[in-house]
Symmetry: C2
Subunit: 109 residues, 2 copies
Amino acid sequence: MLTHLGDKWTILVILLLAQTPGNRLRFSGIKRGVAGISQRMLTLTLRMLERNGLVVRHYFAEVPPRVEYELSLMGKGMLPPLEFFAQWIGENWPAMEAARREYDARSGQ
Amino acid sequence: MLTHLGDKWTILVILLLAQTPGNRLRFSGIKRGVAGISQRMLTLTLRMLERNGLVVRHYFAEVPPRVEYELSLMGKGMLPPLEFFAQWIGENWPAMEAARREYDARSGQ
């Protein structure tokens, strides 16, 4: 479980829904909003989020059927630790990049 | 990068080193302390942590050579957001488990 929660796509989908009015979007809207995510990865990510109660799937029996994904109350509760984590990464990104350059130079990569 | 940082093994290795006096251990000590991690996964995780400056690798040219891995200052700086994230997971674990049971029952798994 911990493996998925810290996963890049999971974090980006949750942050996107959190920043969207009403915290809900259709599949295509989420795909457009998360750069680089594949159809398959988004399907798996949304299924994992729904299964863990972090996202609610709304199905409208229209023609064609409409599906929307909404950040649940528990999903919203995950935002503070996620934002704290994302903030730490943002602040330390330059130092980590410098460490990577030094490591690669040392190991001749 | 974000993908690795939130990875279960990365989090468990950092938390183990953080709880160890001197924040440093040998490879075998880390492997014993992180249940279920394979030799290969620990090697990859430690290399990623070292490459990103979160862990420092100390090499002692003894016979046989000795290697210790130490949580760096930046690595220690990651603890507050990690602990906050781990705390959130701990608090919400029962609700997520209940959601999973309900989802699995609904989808006949």
